[in-house]
């Protein structure tokens, strides 16, 4: 009887997640490209062999993880700082919160175009600032070694408000009396943050981290507009590579394989995060 009640939910999950996965799985075992006239022709594990040997897939995976890792770390850090700031009684708090949220409300492509202009060499405002300080203009988006840092910067600018808002909700769920009690015990702001606020915020931090990680690992339009994957593909993400294969090359068999490869990376990483969390909790319970 209970199973019957679960059926609609299971059907939804199957339809939304399982079906595309199965479909991709099937497609990844086919040659389906302009060379076959888009007709799927079984080709064994050729796509998977190609994936394993595809240096570009692994390079993009590393670049995607690098991007996601730094973005996530900065967003959580800045998001927490911003949330703590917004949590304090401020004059015109509602207005301040709305303003802080603006970057999040902006469409990514618009935001990316804005950053492309800000980082323009030599006409962008940032280079204008450098030059007014007597420094030479810098090619923010034309140096393979550093360009990815500026894609992170743009991403952090856009999504920190989201993290901050989520954490702010978490902060507001903490009764103010807890902090007051700890204040009376003689704890300073840093101790209160470390001993009280952060532990109580942990579920929210984890939620924000998972949300952002999934999004950052799928980063697409920001990079598409900001750098076009360049220079020298140094900012290409897995999602962009998969998109390129599907929509530009019309190589659907390999695109499906890439999607699944990317999915495996994301899944593995999420599992790792959850495992670390479970381990931490277990250790905390074991501690006296």
């Amino acid at each position: 009887m209970a199973i019957l009640l679960l059926l609609p939910a299971l059907a939804l999950v199957a339809g939304v997640f399982l079906w595309p996965l199965l479909r991709y799985g099937w497609l990844s075992l086919q040659a389906s490209s302009v060379l076959t006239g888009l007709v799927p022709v079984p080709n064994g594990g050729a796509n998977w062999q190609r994936l394993l040997a595809d240096g570009r897939f692994w390079q993009d995976a590393a670049q995607t993880l690098r991007f996601a890792g730094l973005s996530l770390a900065l967003e959580l850090l800045l998001g927490l700082a911003l949330a703590l700031l917004l949590h304090r009684p401020l004059p015109r708090r509602g207005l301040v919160r709305a303003v802080v949220l603006l970057p999040w409300a902006l469409p990514t492509t618009v935001m990316a175009l804005g950053w492309r202009w800000i980082l323009n060499d030599p006409f962008g405002p940032l280079n204008g600032l450098l030059q007014s300080l007597g420094l030479p203009a810098y090619g923010f988006l034309s140096q393979p070694a550093t360009t990815w840092l500026f894609t992170v910067l743009a991403d952090v600018w856009k999504t920190t408000p989201f993290v901050a808002l989520l954490l702010l909700a978490g902060l507001q769920a903490i009764p103010s009396e807890l902090e007051e009690a700890l204040r009376l015990e003689g704890a300073g702001p840093w101790q209160r943050l470390r001993r009280l606020t952060l532990p109580l915020l942990a579920p929210y931090l984890l939620l924000a981290a998972l949300f952002r990680l999934a999004q950052a690992l799928g980063v697409f339009d920001l990079i598409q507009v900001l750098t076009g994957s360049g220079p020298a593909s140094s900012t290409e993400s897995l999602a962009l590579y998969a998109y390129l294969n599907a929509m530009r090359f019309l190589d659907f068999g390999y695109a499906a394989t890439l999607m699944l490869g990317m999915f495996a990376v994301v899944l593995g990483l999420s599992a790792l995060v959850l495992l670390a969390q479970a381990l931490r909790r277990r250790l905390a319970e074991m501690a006296p």
């Binding site: 009764p175 807890l178 009690a181 700890l182 009376l184 009280l196 109580l200």
Partner: protein, 327 residues
């Protein structure tokens, strides 16, 4: 000797153009327990937060054992507070809840253990050390909060509605325990309540607040029998005091238990309704001087037409204009 304990002078708190507390002066001696009593919004929680240092003082002074702490940070005042919600840290076990403050104050581990063991024994919390607050009953939570406050070794103990989260039966049971515990500790105790029964049961003295202004402070008996003004007279005592018209400019008041029924020579009264309360019964009477409440023996079966009387000495006389009691 006069400097020991808590002394506050002309303590005020203003937020914007609202005066939440207006010139409160109070002293509480070590080992003495004072209840801050009043209706909600009267300024009693404001007072507590000013004394704890959680809110800034707008005027006046607070001295603790001779030291001026008016502008000291909360953490440096050595004041403990039991919050209405108990404010136990939900992510920590009972033990960790008790230990956190000691760690923050860098008390060495052996001393931490010793003092926690003492307080656990004192409050009969042994065996609950590993539980989380969510796994405790209301009474247990209160005791943990109290234990945490005691571990602070406070120069002043504050309790904000300590009983309001407990059911009535538990309250009656815990009140004497709490009173004994607080008296033992030897520091001044202030507890805030809107429940006069709790105030009378726990406190040596009661301070009645209304509209941010102290109305009267004194023993429960003083407040009951010699209220400083009409507000105190009406706020204390259940059933409430009867108000009668007096001569011009005077408001008379008399407690329901001081009214007696007589066969003749009294004020004629008509019985409106009655309420049986177990050991006593409460009669609502309509008289020419207004509606009166009378507390009578439980076994009495009154007729509809009655006569009521009282001793003139028992009458309380207040100025109609100011509400102050007239000598």
């Amino acid at each position: 000797m006069t400097t020991a304990g808590l002394h506050c002078e002309q303590l005020s708190r203003r937020v914007g153009d609202r005066l939440l507390l207006d010139g409160l002066s109070l002293s509480v001696a070590p080992g003495e327990s004072l209840a801050l009593l009043g209706p909600s919004g009267c300024g009693k929680t404001t007072t507590l937060r000013l004394l704890a240092g959680l809110d800034p003082v707008s005027g006046g002074r607070i001295r603790l054992d001779g030291e001026d702490v008016t502008h000291s940070p909360a953490g440096e005042r050595q004041v403990a507070m039991v919050f209405q919600s108990y404010a136990l840290y939900p992510h920590l076990s009972v033990l960790a809840n008790l230990e956190l403050g000691l760690e923050v104050r860098r008390v060495p581990a052996p001393e931490r253990r010793r003092r926690i063991a003492e307080v656990l024994a004192l409050l009969q919390l042994e065996g609950l050390e590993r539980r989380r607050p969510a796994q405790l009953s209301g009474g247990q939570r209160q005791r943990v909060a109290l234990a945490r406050a005691l571990l602070r070794q406070p120069r002043l103990m504050l309790l904000d509605e300590p009983m309001s989260n407990l059911d009535a039966q538990l309250r009656d049971q815990l009140r004497p325990e709490l009173r004994a515990l607080l008296h033992r500790a030897g520091h001044p105790v202030i507890h805030v309540t809107h429940d006069q029964q709790e105030a009378m049961g726990l406190a040596d003295r009661i301070a009645v607040l209304e509209g941010g202004v102290l109305q009267q402070v004194g023993t429960p008996q003083e407040l009951y029998h010699r209220p400083a003004n009409l507000f105190v007279a009406r706020f204390l005592g259940r059933p409430g005091i009867n108000l009668l018209a007096g001569e011009a400019g005077v408001q008379l008041a008399i407690r329901p238990e001081q009214l007696r029924l007589v066969e003749s020579g009294g004020l004629p009264a008509r019985l409106l309704r009655r309420e049986w309360q177990g050991s006593q019964q409460l009669l609502w009477l309509d008289t020419s001087r207004g509606e009166l409440l009378l507390l009578a023996a439980a076994d009495l079966t009154p007729g509809e037409q009655l006569q009521v009387t009282w001793k003139p000495d028992d009458e309380l006389r207040f100025s109609s204009a100011s509400g102050e009691r007239l000598a």
